[in-house]
Amino acid sequence: MAKQPILFLFLSGLLTVCFIGSLLVGPSAVGWHEWWQWLNNASQLPVDVRLILLEIRLPRALLGLMVGVTLGLSGAALQGYLRNPLAEPGLIGVSSAASLGAVLTIYTGIASSFPLALPLGGIAGGLLSVVSLLLLAGKTVSVLRLILAGIAITSFASALTSLALNMAPNPFVALEIMFWLMGSLADRSFEHVSLSLPFMVLGWSLLLLTARSLDALTLGEEAAQTMGVNLSRLRLLTVVGVALSVGAATAISGTIGFVGLIVPHLLRRWVGFQPGRLLWASALGGASLVLLADVTVRLLSSTTELKLGVLTAMIGAPFFLMLIFKTEREVL
């Protein structure tokens, strides 16, 4: 019990450091000094420096934070709900559907004439996937059916995304789609923040409401039900919460894999394996990891920008294998 406040302080501290790091690092030599000047007397700063600080660095750091919270929180909630450490936010098909929505705006060319069409398309795709998911998985509380419906949506959306690539009117469009799919936080603005924040906040709130029920679910569905847990309500909160927040996050940043899988796993031990407590811990941890990865991307990039999603996948894949082997040993 006593460990909890320490963990909370540690994760909050880590997140603060990563957030500040994200404000300081970038291709142009703007850092501590300029932020200090801005704090003291903003009007004395040259316009271009102010633009870098407030219109480029700040929204990028904020989006990193928001996307990270989303991935960590929804990963923890899904793992708790499905009682499976290998579950991740993309499992129920929302990421693929949101990607498809965004890709279609690039494919049709709407995104180039109206930039915000891209995240809007992503959000629309995400929302559409929740509706299909709830229709496909029906009213049953069967976890298996939910996963199968998720797989079906994922395959269908991925197929359509490939079709868009296949039918791309010219190589530039195909390249743009490919780059977008890799996942990145570069060149985003405050409009992206204000567009996605309402969906994410709503999603987070729904997910945080599941904490107690997820704890009770540790004892299995039947015992949980006799402890007052409403399984259909829990399923609805989890699915809609994940869909809203992950849909919005994917619409903004593209697919950033493995964060939602790894973070809950790393932190589970430190919250005493309590799925409810893992929610907030994972939210803070996920935000730190995405910000850290995004800073790393900026430090490593020289001429060609390294994509955030590529980096998380490169670190994530070996970790995922390790997780599988470890789980196998635990089961044996």
Partner: protein, 263 residues
């Protein structure tokens, strides 16, 4: 007054009738044993009593109110259900796991109080698991887990305790301890319904016994009226010898009569 009672309860799984017209009741302070051969519907009945499945017809009454009219929270505070098997999905510490039993008494964002911890610690001692309080549940043996899960159910401090084979996987010493702890609970006013296979422990600790078989109640009543040789023989298709050794009732299965001969 009956704490829990069923009226012409019929249970089906899909189209298959599991139990027909079950009438039985339990009052405060009683231990009722549900007995019967495998597949007789003991667990199905227990689940229906816990509100986990809907009756095809008839009803379950708790404090004279139909079960489905009670709110989830109210029901969760009155009744604790201990499922069969010892599955726990995450390796939570024993102490925190038993604390889950207090959830029905907490408001959504309320943290466990000092009183809740006191209840949990007392129960951990009674169930002889306080020495593992800090350990992860998945590091414990099957029997140890069984005791921890019983402790979780008891932490609810329910008026009605439904336990599906709480003795499975326990060594004789712990079987006796758990039964005498359930007896203490009953003495304190809890109505205990358990699915039990051990004829001797059932005869010694249960006040009443319900024998299930062939989709109905074969016999029910005070343990001394029901757990007699010919009724047990009819229910389980076995020949038994009953008697007393140093004032302790014993029921010893002697021979299987073959399942085809069952009435």
């Amino acid at each position: 007054m009956n704490l829990l009672q069923t009226a012409a309860l019929t249970l089906k799984i899909g189209e298959k009738t599991i139990l027909k017209d079950i009438d039985f009741s339990i009052t405060k302070g009683e231990i009722v044993g549900l007995m019967g051969p495998n597949g007789a519907g003991k667990s199905t009945l227990l689940k229906a009593l816990a509100g986990l499945s809907n009756a095809h017809s008839g009803q379950v009454l708790i404090d004279d109110h139909p079960l489905h009219t009670l709110g989830r929270q109210v029901l969760a505070q009155k009744l604790a259900y201990l499922p069969q098997g010892h599955d726990v999905h995450w390796s939570m510490s024993v102490e925190n796991l038993v604390m889950l039993g207090r959830l029905p008494h907490l408001k959504p964002w309320q943290r466990p109080s000092e009183k809740d911890w006191l209840i949990v610690r007392t129960i951990l001692k009674k169930c002889d698991v306080s020495q593992f309080a800090q350990r992860g549940i998945q590091s414990l043996s099957g029997g140890e887990r069984a005791r921890v899960l019983l402790a979780r159910a008891l932490a609810v401090q329910p008026q009605i305790l439904l336990a599906d084979e709480p003795l499975a996987g326990l060594d004789p010493g712990h079987q006796l301890e758990i039964m005498s702890y359930l007896q203490q609970q009953a003495n304190a006013g809890v109505a205990v319904i358990i699915v039990i296979h051990d004829l001797n422990l059932a005869k010694r600790f249960c006040h009443r016994v319900v024998l299930l078989g062939r989709q109905r109640v074969l016999d029910q009543g005070p343990v001394d009226d029901v757990m007699i040789a010919d009724k047990i023989a009819r229910c389980f298709s076995i020949q038994v010898v009953t008697g007393n050794i140093e004032q302790i009732p014993v029921v010893i299965p002697v021979e299987s009569l073959g399942f085809n001969n069952a009435e």
